[in-house]
Symmetry: C2
Subunit: 581 residues, 2 copies
């Protein structure tokens, strides 16, 4: 392709709201154009990259036995009422009323539609397993789209849905998809880690995220320092071995005066004990609550609450911090509250509206300092079991770098930053049951197929790749997903010999199957070099008057510091070798 004919212009300036590298460079290089907040058009260079990513995904999905289908963007809201997600999906479904006065939604994902399709075509256990996928447009009306292609509203997604006869079958399907994902990311030339993840609003049992490591990523993952262990999880999901306190004899519960002390740090300092010897109280309410309900969380003073774990402990209801008014209305004394004596707080009506959740760290720690549920007073020697119990005891603590790995190893958690580019879920039978998809098993009984679902954001993958692969001059694209392999620049465009040599070499490379973006514009070398770096194709090749005097071309890999010279007569082979190198 001649750059002079390739539609799109490189820009010197990024949009003022472009904060991430991928947003800046994808716009500046003419890969994408914003049409509205979180809604983009892809220009030829960007779409070529997306097509390459899609083709890799398609090949690997086919190889894994999945079958390609296509489901609609616009669909009846009834489908979502059937699954129970019409009012609960986050972000809220984009809804319109059609000319027939039916409520339609723009689909953010396709569990409902696939299950509807399966219900019509599934009869017998012999039909199972199957895995259906599509590469298709989705819309999620995010409240705050940002960061270019990383957090958009409309996007291309590969989504796959597996249907199995039993749990063992789901395990096989799930592993096959995990393996396919590893191959996809490997072929795309990007460094992706599979980590345990929380299922979130898609629901289901197990889920794994695929995270592209990048310092600028907004996600935090923890990986075990012991390579043989292999434990990896994102921050929302990560577990760790809770530090076990030294065994000691239980002391006597005693109240003492702590004037003006409101924080755990102040309390520990006042008593000259480590914060791990304290228990702190954090107050939440269900996000949808309009008041009256309090989630009273107790966790050791040295740990922080993981709100995703807390949500799961609450049965999936999203928590929010309670307001000062809610806390006071429940009769709780902020700064001196604890689960010890909670039954007496504010009388019986109040206790019934409080759910007490205790992190398991508290259970195994003796003689803790806790609030006395009286302003300016705390208690010594609080012991779970003896002095207080809870409605729920569960792990709700946030893992941190350095925490002991939860695996059967001596490793500790190492923190990385990254961008989620894929997510796979074990769904179970929730959708099958809701949409009435059944099959007759070999024994003649009617059963629900067990589902899994598997997503990759195509544009997000491109953006994440740029986050992980760029420098201060532009993108550094892996060969497999760069729009072209070679940026061929003919310099000295006023010199007919150079022009002719560049044209001839362009034809030779193209004939040899190399994908070339040929900068044939009448621009000075500086402009061409800047654009080459910005667009970030794997190899830059320069045909210039100076090089031609020695019968040579100049080659520079985008990921290398130094250029090398090669004889023009051996140019095609030299380019191929440099691309491989």
């Amino acid at each position: 392709m001649r750059l002079s004919r390739s539609f799109g212009k490189t820009l010197r300036q990024a949009p003022s709201d472009a904060e991430t590298a991928s947003h800046q460079y994808l716009v500046r290089a003419g890969f994408v154009q914003q049409v509205a907040a979180g809604i983009y058009s892809y220009l030829p260079l960007g779409w070529r990259s997306l097509t390459k990513i899609s083709n890799i995904i398609r090949q690997e999905m086919d190889r894994a036995g999945a079958q390609e289908i296509s489901m609609p963007v616009v669909q009846p809201r009834e489908l979502w009422e059937q699954s129970g997600r019409a009012d609960t999906f986050q972000p809220p479904l984009a809804t319109l009323v059609d000319r027939r006065d039916r409520k339609m939604v723009i689909a953010p994902t396709h569990e409902e539609t696939t299950t509807f399709m399966a219900a019509a075509n599934l009869e017998s256990y012999r039909d199972l397993p199957f895995n259906l996928y599509q590469i298709q447009t989705k819309f999620r009306d995010e409240a705050r789209p940002r960061a270019g292609l990383l957090r958009v509203r409309e996007f291309e997604m590969k989504d796959a849905y597996s249907f199995d006869r039993d749990e063992a079958g789901l395990d096989v399907s799930f592993k096959a998809m995990a393996a396919a994902y590893h191959r996809i990311f490997s072929r795309a030339g990007i460094d992706v880690r599979m980590v345990e993840a929380d299922s979130g609003p898609i629901g289901g049992k197990d889920s794994n995220e695929f995270v592209l490591l990048a310092e600028s990523g907004e996600d935090t993952i923890f990986v075990c320092s012991d390579e043989n262990c292999g434990y990896a999880a994102n921050a929302e999901k990560a577990e760790f071995k809770k530090p076990v306190a030294d065994a000691e004899e239980q002391g006597e519960l005693a109240e003492f005066h702590t004037p003006g002390i409101k924080t755990i740090e102040a309390l520990a300092g006042f008593l000259e004990v480590p914060v791990s010897k304290t228990v702190k109280a954090v107050f939440y309410a269900p996000e949808t609550s309009s008041g009256g309900e309090i989630i009273f969380v107790s966790i050791r003073g040295d740990l922080e609450v993981n709100e995703t774990k807390l949500r799961n402990a609450m049965g999936g209801a999203q928590p929010r911090l309670a307001t000062r008014e809610e806390v006071e209305a429940a009769g709780l004394v902020a700064g001196s509250a604890s689960a010890i004596g909670l039954d007496a707080v504010g009388g019986p009506r109040s206790r019934a509206s409080i759910t007490s959740i205790v992190d398991d760290s508290v259970v195994n720690s003796p003689n803790l300092v806790a609030g006395a549920n009286r302003a300016d007073y705390h208690l010594k020697n609080g012991n779970y079991g003896r002095d207080f119990t809870a409605d729920i005891v569960v792990d709700i603590a946030m893992a941190r770098a350095g925490d002991p790995c939860p695996g059967n190893c001596d490793g500790h958690l190492v923190e990385h930053r990254g961008v989620e580019v894929g997510h796979i879920f074990k769904l179970g039978t929730g959708y099958s049951e809701a949409m009435g998809a059944t099959f007759i098993d070999e024994d003649g009984t009617e059963k629900y197929p067990i589902m899994g679902c598997y997503g990759i954001g195509i544009g997000r993958l491109l953006a994440a790749t740029v986050e992980a692969n760029h420098d201060e001059r532009g993108m550094v694209l892996p060969r497999a997903i760069a729009p072209y392999e070679v940026y061929l620049a003919g310099l000295n465009t006023n010199d007919d010999t150079v022009v002719a040599a560049a044209e001839k070499f362009y034809d030779e490379l193209t004939a040899a199957g190399v994908e070339v973006l040929f900068d044939d514009r009448e621009e000075p070398p500086g402009v061409k070099f800047n654009d080459a770096d910005l667009i970030g194709l794997p190899l830059r090749v320069v045909v210039s008057a100076r090089g031609l005097r020695n019968g040579e071309i100049e080659m520079k890999r985008r990921d290398a510091d130094e250029a090398t010279m090669a004889p023009l007569s051996e140019g095609v082979n030299a380019v191929k070798a440099a691309l491989e190198g």
Copy 2:
């Protein structure tokens, strides 16, 4: 692909509302599933066909120099306000309000978005010409979706948009697209005629439709009987040489009594003159009119009104037949109205609200019988010019089979039925001007690029192909767009020798690059033969116990009546030859 593993079931019964062959067979063969009125999912077989069509289109668009991009489904309504189509597009835009309280539309076409993109990336005449295309999802909220994939609401479309420096450039771009379309349809194996067409709501100057000939098609086209002429147009657009009446001396205008005569046929019979000696009046109103405006159409009694031509005569306003109340309110006497003496009808206020449009056939016909604008009276010897004139004189007549071709030939129009599968338009500068897309020409002046647009409905192409290629048993798909090339049926599935031979032959064909759908199910031969005919792959190959006794396989082309036998040892070559044949 093994049929036992291919997702989707063939059905014995078509949906009760499936009236067309393509609707019946595409649903019965498991190619598509309806999700809502005019909204379908594609199952694996259907999507494979669509992918093949898309790939042919993509290759030919690339070959013609067009560049692939992708534009969003959901977009700001503001873009459509800028072009002036927000309130006028038909069917009305599907609109929603997003979480940021902005009005968004689901795009039915992408002239606005492409021009917005061009405006940001077009600077100089050196950037021109370019042609941008995408294969992408569109939504048009048709009031009456029907006929399966022929009239849907959501659909996949290839849409291309060319930008040129001048009219001569547009001609080149337009011809290149016409040529690409011919290649696309030829490669898809379907018989498509390019015809002149009306531009409709997309606007612009010239347009051509590509019509797949099919008896069941809902479109009518006229083609000149003289092959050297080549004139072809759809019914909305078709012109014809108007029959010229014999010259005769103008007689004296005279009123006469026609008691109870209300129709042209009755009038001609009463007077014993041919209907071509009469002029009839037809009353329309602009579709959006709430009363008061009348379009008074005069056309010779032997011709019918073409409402598309009438719409163009009315400057693009869609006409509808006037109601009896509207006609009476204008002071017109239905059954005896004519343009002769129209100025006197109902007084001056009424005349101002009437637009008189006369078909040019009336102008060239002497001594016509016309209404007298008085109940039960008509006039003899009405002559245009002498006795009446009109606000507009133009061709608004509907062509019919047998009418003389409008070309420079002695041919006549031959009528065909068909299905529109593509449409190309010369748009001009309407969108460039509205969206502010300009370039600096070589002489330094700022100009608007001249646009063309070019569409193919992908699913519609598949459905139209089935309309043109089916019999009472199922589809007869062309090789290039069939999901697979060969339907391989292994019979006698209880005979291990046959099963082994069928499996081996499946592997051999697949290894030889033949795309095989292998019916490995334990079903009786009748079921397999029925499904083979229904799905309509080009070649059915049968491995059976009887054939194997002679070392033979049976081959039957779907478009042939007879099967042939071939030695199994030569099977792969025989299959390839039969596919070519």
